[in-house]
């Protein structure tokens, strides 16, 4: 039995503490899950465990066969496997071991073959990865880790793009690795996966392990959800956001109606959806469900059949700030970049710097952007404030429909609250907001209606007036996703 012991791990980024004195004891034998809300320090913990980053303080020790060592190998199996698509499975496994291969051609081959057979990908050995499915890529990554004799296997959202059968097989494989004395860690957002794959789930919050759920009675989806939503739930009840008196949704004007709409690349089919004025519509669904793609289609950022012919003005914000922030420009310029001629030009038709300055002044105040002066480069702002700049630039266009993917990714709690308030108040002016969210508490905070997608079609529609609390919403969404999965299998 092997053990990975971390004591007092601390990691700071500027003023924020990603990890604050984290203690954890991970024992081989079973798959261990790690769950936590966004910003809890999950990705930092992963980077520290995998050795990508050094903690500011704290210790990380592996006890292997009763002997403690700091010299051990960690393999990370990523959401998107890091492999060479232009090489065959064989060649992929040879990279980095070329010397070894040449020295003992046969032994290496035999060992590789054994591992390939163990992972049941031996029949693909001569194929180039570019032609093989993602599940095989993942197994190649696992095989590489096994060949390198890794002690710790970190699975980072490994099955987000796998089919049900593929993820089941992956979980079985993980279990086998754990039983073979490896320390196997699963990090995922999907609660049902944590329950089915792990027998032990640690909850990470504010850079520390705050709870451990173990055993069939303690380890349930509801229990994990309750743990995850604890902090954010508090944020909701204290926020000024909630409780908008609403006219019934059916009475609101339909701004955009999709009729049996299909994604041009096949991510979803046969979707009927109305986008109504005055509502925040949230599209929910795991990666591969089509929810993200549908969001992009509504945002006119992705082609669909039939195409979006409706003429109402639509603005779209991508999920990653790398794709929304112009880092070579100032805050003011970022705020103005989406605007048209009518808002920025003088009578003579030239660009009016005064108009841009005025606009930036107003926007900085209206969207509570924390910045010394709006001529500062946008990169000098925190993530939350950069997001407010992007959002502000979009809201200033006064478009009929605002479409945002993951509106608060990497944003601190207080900015989150402000962003929700901005989106909600925008809706009140007869506009519509369409969001793609991955966090259920966020949906709870901001949505008027949640549409759940699963496997490329709408699995359910939830009116938020019928939802009593976050756990209730978690349950309903999970029910819709499961129902759809069963329908597919039968």
């Amino acid at each position: 039995m092997n053990e990975l012991i971390a004591t007092g791990l601390t990691k700071r980024y500027g003023a924020t503490r990603a990890l604050s004195g984290l203690d954890i004891r991970l024992i081989s034998g079973t798959v261990i899950g790690i769950a936590g809300p966004n910003g809890a320090g999950k990705s930092t913990l992963m980077r520290v465990l995998s050795g990508e980053e050094r903690p500011d303080s704290g210790d990380l020790v592996l006890v292997r066969d009763g002997q403690a060592t700091r010299d051990f190998k960690v393999a990370v199996v990523h959401q998107e496997p890091q492999v060479w698509p232009n090489l065959s499975v064989w060649k992929n496994l040879e990279v980095g071991r070329e010397e070894e291969e040449r020295a003992s051609q046969n032994r290496g081959d035999a060992e590789t073959e054994k591992i390939l057979r163990l992972l049941s990908i031996d029949m693909f050995a001569d194929f180039e990865l570019v032609d093989l499915p993602l599940a095989v890529h993942q197994r190649v990554e696992i095989a590489r880790a096994m060949l390198h004799k890794a002690d710790v296997f970190l699975f980072d959202e490994p099955n987000s793009a796998l089919t049900d059968e593929e993820s089941k097989a992956l979980f079985e494989l993980m279990e086998r690795l754990a039983q073979a004395g490896k320390i196997v860690i699963l990090v995922t957002h999907r609660l049902n996966d944590l329950v089915s794959a792990c027998s032990d789930v640690m909850i990470l919050r504010e850079g520390r392990i705050v709870a451990e759920l173990r055993g069939d009675s303690a380890l349930t989806e509801a229990a994990i959800a309750a743990q995850l939503t604890l902090t954010e739930h508090v944020a909701t009840t204290t926020s000024a956001v909630g409780g908008t008196p609403k006219t019934p949704m059916k009475d609101q004007k339909v701004l955009l109606a999709l009729k049996s709409c299909a994604d041009a690349a096949g991510a979803f089919q046969n979707v009927d959806l109305d986008v109504r004025a005055g509502t925040v519509l949230v599209l929910a669904g795991v990666e591969g469900s089509g929810a993200r793609e549908l969001t992009q289609v509504i945002g006119q950022f992705r082609p669909a059949n039939p195409g979006r012919t409706n003429g109402c003005a639509t603005e779209y914000i991508a999920a990653s700030r790398k794709h929304t922030v112009f880092s070579n420009m100032s805050v003011a310029e970022n705020l103005a970049i989406r605007l048209g001629r009518d808002r920025m030009t003088t009578a003579a038709g030239t660009l009016s710097l005064a108009a841009i300055n005025r606009l930036a002044d107003n926007s900085v105040r209206r969207y509570t952007i924390k910045v010394g002066h709006h001529s500062n480069p946008v990169t000098s702002l925190s993530g939350g404030n950069q997001q407010k700049v992007v959002l502000g630039a979009t809201l200033e266009t006064n478009a009929d429909i605002i479409v945002v993917e993951e509106p608060t990714r990497g944003v601190d709690i207080s900015s989150k609250r402000e962003i929700y308030a901005l989106l909600k108040s925008y809706c009140r002016a007869g506009k519509a907001v369409v969001l793609f969210c991955t966090e259920v508490p966020e949906m709870y905070d901001v949505a008027d209606e949640v549409v759940v997608l699963s496997r490329g079609s709408i699995a359910g529609r939830i009116s938020m007036s019928e939802i009593s609390n976050v756990s209730h919403l978690v349950e309903v969404i999970a029910r819709f996703e499961r129902k759809e999965a069963h329908a597919q299998i039968s």
Binding site: H323, F326, N328, M329, E333, R338, L351, G372, N376
Partner: protein
């Protein structure tokens, strides 16, 4: 107590702002000023060595020598600003003047002749088409602009040689001689000397500088070019007209090369089969010395003009000192590399100052 805290906060905030203007934007203009000071020092050194450097005649020669380089570099700055590059400009410059010459004067590989105005229009259309071809290859066919414009460079050069047919065209001594009005009109474009000894070609540089300054710094078009070059993906998300704008940028680049070719032909009075020279390298060097980034998102008209001045100054001064053209090349290469190096260092300083100011602001405003 609380008022005291507030007071501290306010002063700190003010300090953050003051610090900001004292450093980041300050350093930005300081960088240009540094370039200007460098130019002044080099000019002074030339002047001390050779007093006739500062003579009116030489300064006019210097200014005149900047015209084709300046016009083309200003357009190239926009190409580089959006993250592309146009290597065809030197060849298009040469092709345009040969198209004009061959169709106007005859005697080359042109299938027929025409009078001056249609020939000039044809030459400009050729230059514009060259720009659009580059745009098409980059934006429609998806070639990297380096390759697409390298191809266009060779095409333009080949056309120039075919059309020129190894002839040298001189309107004043052509047989048959073009009508008087055509010759005087053509001469007025660049060669005519006004107010004593100022060639009209110089005014084209001023016109181009003003035009490009307005386009780059006072139009939505120029504003959006910065965004497109700074982050193409974000520009797509914000639905900026990327393709259209890049087409315009390539078109302007071709046209600028064409205009430069025509007015230079007028000034020189003749054009030969291979008059494209090493213009391309100077153009790119000038733009980069002027602080533009080859990865896009950075580039100003003033900086580019300073780059043009520095290069032309070196050419002129070194020739005046009697430095051979081989050694001149060496000097110009060194200065280019050093100028860009200094630019990179100052960029780092600017970024650091910005981060410091942001940290202060973050602390104060929290």
């Amino acid at each position: 107590m609380s008022s005291e805290l507030e007071l501290v906060g306010v002063t700190a905030e003010k300090r953050a702002k003051a610090n900001w203007f004292g450093t980041q934007s300050g350093l930005n203009s300081l960088r240009l000023m540094g370039l200007a000071v460098g130019i002044a020092l080099i000019a002074l050194a030339f002047g001390i060595q050779k007093p006739q450097f500062f003579s009116a005649a030489n300064l006019l020669t210097l200014l005149r020598s900047m015209v084709p380089l300046g016009i083309i570099a200003l357009a190239q700055m926009q190409v580089i600003l959006v993250g592309e590059i146009d290597l065809s400009v030197g060849a298009v410059y040469g092709l345009t003047s040969v198209v004009l010459a061959a169709f106007w004067l005859g005697g080359g590989g042109a299938p027929f002749e025409m009078s001056l105005i249609p020939a000039m229009l044809l030459a400009l259309v050729t230059a514009g088409l060259a720009g659009l071809l580059c745009g098409f290859l980059v934006l429609r066919a998806g070639l990297p602009s380096f390759i697409a414009t390298l191809g266009a460079l060779n095409i333009a050069q080949g056309l120039q040689l075919l059309l020129g047919n190894a002839a040298t065209f001189t309107p004043e001594y052509n047989d048959p001689l073009p009508p008087d009005w055509e010759r005087s009109f053509f001469n007025a474009l660049g060669g005519l000397q006004v107010g004593g000894s100022i060639p009209t070609e110089i005014f084209w540089l001023f016109a181009a500088a003003i035009l490009f300054w307005i386009v780059r710094h006072r139009t939505i078009f120029g504003f959006r070019l910065v965004a497109i070059g700074g982050n193409a993906e974000a520009a797509k998300v914000a639905k900026l007209p990327i393709v259209k704008y890049k087409y315009i940028v390539f078109l302007l680049s071709g046209l600028a090369a064409g205009v430069a070719g025509i007015v230079d032909f007028s000034y020189v009075g003749s054009v030969g089969p291979s008059d494209a020279g090493s213009l391309l390298f100077s153009v790119i060097a000038a733009v980069v010395i002027g602080g533009a980034s080859l990865s896009g998102g950075r580039g100003t008209v003033l900086g580019t003009l300073l780059g043009v001045i520095l290069l032309s100054l070196l050419n002129n001064g070194l020739a005046l000192l009697g430095v051979g053209s081989f050694a001149q090349l060496l000097f110009i290469g060194l200065v280019t590399v050093i100028a860009v190096w200094i630019d990179i260092l100052s960029q780092k300083l600017i970024r650091k100052a910005g981060q410091r100011a942001a940290e202060t602001a973050g602390r104060v405003l929290k």
